[in-house]
């Protein structure tokens, strides 16, 4: 069952010609194989099917009369005010919540790496805990505690009561930092202690150490969290399923697609909308990847040519 043996078998079936480099490729592909098989079966084929679907006028109730209609569904998007508003809503949601979420998670993770902090285990549990609360409840918790705050603090002090509308999104964002915090914190813990020791000997203070050692070393994790949050903003449970039932989501675009799919049973248009969302996200991602070259640090990137 040793992979080396398996590659030995591979060697026998492809005699002599296999260089070390080729051997490395085959072993690598062997390691990749679970995902590659899953990709073809569970992603590529359904995606192709969805692409075909988006080019037809498929209706759930009358599948036999499906015709190929070309780009009609995509053109329909540009005339659909609600769809455009939803897409911009998702973009706004991304821009509003993600920076807040990332900065708070980063600061907390940095504080957590300090040896001076007491009761880390409890604090970490408490910070993550809020990310597990189901979505239906979180809304009531928000409204209920807002009512308490107004009754106990603001009304007795003759202050105007707080309105909940503008605060809900930041609140949800802050109460979802669990996974991001966990990722960043574990990345910070993997930074070798020797680097900090060396910097300390050179006289670097805590802030300098954070900026010049921690941030560059964990930049892959920051980048990862950014991508995940981007996806979350446009729909889809990536790292954390908040327990949204299908027709309810915080992401306006996702709600709109789900409505089109399940309420209107218009699968073809829903597929087209999902593809448009994907195109927007991909554009942002490619942009992020381009910029990643400047600020994401991989130790072996320099010896890539070896």
């Amino acid at each position: 069952m040793d992979v080396a043996n398996q590659s030995g078998l591979l060697l026998k079936t492809r005699p002599a010609k296999l260089t070390r480099r080729q051997q490395e490729t085959w072993i690598g592909l062997l390691f990749l194989s679970p995902w590659l098989i899953g990709f073809v079966l569970l992603k590529a084929l359904p995606i192709l099917a969805a692409l075909v679907l988006s080019l037809t006028d498929f209706q759930m109730l009358t599948p036999e009369s499906t015709r190929f209609v070309g780009l009609v569904n995509y053109i329909r998007f540009f005339g659909d005010v609600e769809a455009r508003a939803s897409l911009f809503g998702s973009l706004r949601y991304f821009l509003l919540t993600v920076p807040l979420e990332m900065i708070v998670a980063l600061v907390l993770a940095a504080i957590f790496t300090s040896e001076r902090l007491k009761n880390k285990r409890l604090s970490q549990t408490l910070i993550f805990m809020t990310s597990i609360i189901p979505s239906t409840s979180i809304f009531f918790i928000f409204l209920g505690s807002l009512a308490y705050a107004n009754r106990l603090i603001f009304t007795p002090l003759n202050l105007p009561p707080i309105e909940g509308n503008g605060l809900l999104l930041p609140f949800m964002a802050l109460w979802s930092i669990g996974p991001g915090f966990l990722i960043l914190y574990s990345a910070m813990k993997s930074v070798p202690n020797e680097m900090y020791e060396a910097a300390r000997v050179d006289g670097a203070g805590p802030i300098a150490r954070f900026v010049y050692i921690t941030l560059p070393m964990i930049s892959p994790a920051i980048f990862f969290t950014l991508i995940i949050n981007l996806t979350g903003a446009f729909g889809g449970a990536v790292l954390l399923d908040r327990g949204y039932i299908l027709n309810f989501s915080l992401s306006p675009m996702e709600s709109y697609i789900n409505d089109t799919m399940f309420r209107d049973a218009d699968l073809a248009y829903a597929s087209a909308l999902a593809w448009i969302t994907f195109a927007v996200m991909m554009t942002i991602t490619i942009f992020l990847f381009r910029s990643a070259k400047r600020w994401v640090y991989f130790p072996e990137e320099h010896d890539e040519e070896l």
């Binding site: 359904p46 604090s123 993550f128 189901p134 729909g235 991989f298």
Partner: protein, 356 residues
């Protein structure tokens, strides 16, 4: 501490003072942050112990309480705060009427009904602190929690094994092997993370349905896909594996270690925090999963997983206190798991520090 040995008596004192204030400030900051961060949580606990109709009365106290009642002639009368010439009295409402009502003084019921002029509806009821377990009882009488917990733990554990094995292997493949075009394969992986799940929902459902695999009403659609690895977790692990210096595996390779041996004895020991993180994230994901459960297990109530089952039960009585009870029930096990896994986390850290 090391540097203080170099300094004189005076600077050692300053340093200790700095050390102390720094520690105090840091812990104070974290404490204040946690208080603010968790300030909405008390509502959750209070609401789940609150009797049903308390939320309907805007003047009711915040803590779970019940109306004070007075038994008079075999009937439970509600006690109100009644303003009289001798101050506010706690009287039980006997015969309500719009303009004037008859009250009974609980301290002196022999005196009989007292007539009070005024609209009784403007009066405030008297409450006494009394948390109730009724919400939990009502919830448990409908929801088969032990069954849901058992189901979820089985599904979570099986898929956890699958997702860890395959994701670690794939991430290793992505981070350590020179494969032509691997950049593009990796980009494909990122793309699959970002494809909105609802694009593939209908075709995937078709794949699992009676037309092809006939897996609807079983756990298979929730478990099997994880054995092909999870793109997000692969990404996370790969980023971490890449940040481990290659010198270590090259040294192991010179000692004659094969790729699998390098993964097990060089890469994994260095990645315990990230592997724990990945395992936890997957566990929470399965725990809170509702989309797929509602799609594939809707017809199999005996196979339900906890999160969706609780939400479905809650839709029968959609009130704050019922929702809070459900949320508390769903949260208990993840919080315990998280807390226990931290212990393992921290131990690991201490061990590596001792080695140094």
């Amino acid at each position: 501490m090391k540097s203080s040995k170099r300094g004189g008596e005076h600077s050692r004192l300053t340093l200790r003072l700095w050390d102390f204030t720094g520690t105090a400030m840091l812990n104070l900051f974290m404490f204040l942050f946690l208080v603010a961060y968790l300030s909405p949580l008390p509502f959750m606990v209070i609401a789940s112990f609150t009797p049903r109709n308390q939320f309907l009365d805007g003047n009711a106290p915040i803590l779970p309480s019940e109306r004070v009642k007075f038994n008079y002639e075999g009937k439970d009368l509600i006690v109100y705060e009644v303003p009289t010439e001798n101050g506010i009295k706690h009287w039980a409402l006997y015969k309500p009427s719009r303009k004037s009502s008859q009250f009974i003084d609980p301290n002196n019921p022999q005196a009989g009904p007292i007539l009070w002029q005024g609209a009784w509806r403007t009066l405030q009821a008297v409450y006494q602190f009394k948390p109730t377990l009724d919400n939990f009882e009502a919830f448990l009488s409908v929801a088969r929690m032990s069954l849901y917990f058992k189901n979820t733990i089985i599904v979570a554990l099986i898929s956890e094994i699958g997702v860890l094995f395959s994701s670690i292997a794939v991430a290793y493949g992505f981070s350590r092997f020179r494969i032509p075009g691997i950049k593009y394969i990796f980009f494909l992986l990122i793309a699959t993370i970002m494809i909105p799940s609802n694009i593939t929902l209908v075709p995937t459902y078709y794949l699992y349905s009676g037309h092809m695999l006939n897996w609807i009403g079983t756990w298979l659609p929730l478990i099997v896909p994880h054995f092909f690895g999870s793109a997000v977790l692969i990404f996370l692990l790969r980023q971490n594996f890449k940040s481990i210096p290659r010198d270590l595996d090259e040294a192991a390779m010179l000692d004659g270690a094969g790729p699998l041996r390098i993964l097990i004895s060089v890469i994994l020991p260095q990645s315990i925090p990230v592997v724990t993180t990945v395992a936890l994230l997957h566990f929470f994901y399965i725990w809170n999963e509702t989309r797929l459960t509602s799609l594939y297990l809707g017809i199999a109530p005996q196979l339900q997983l906890v999160s969706f089952a609780v939400q479905r039960n809650q839709s029968y009585f959609f009130t704050p206190e019922a929702l809070m009870v459900g949320a508390l029930m769903v949260m208990v096990i993840p919080v315990v798991v998280l807390f226990l896994s931290q212990r393992f986390f921290m131990q690991d850290m201490i061990v590596t520090q001792i080695e140094k």
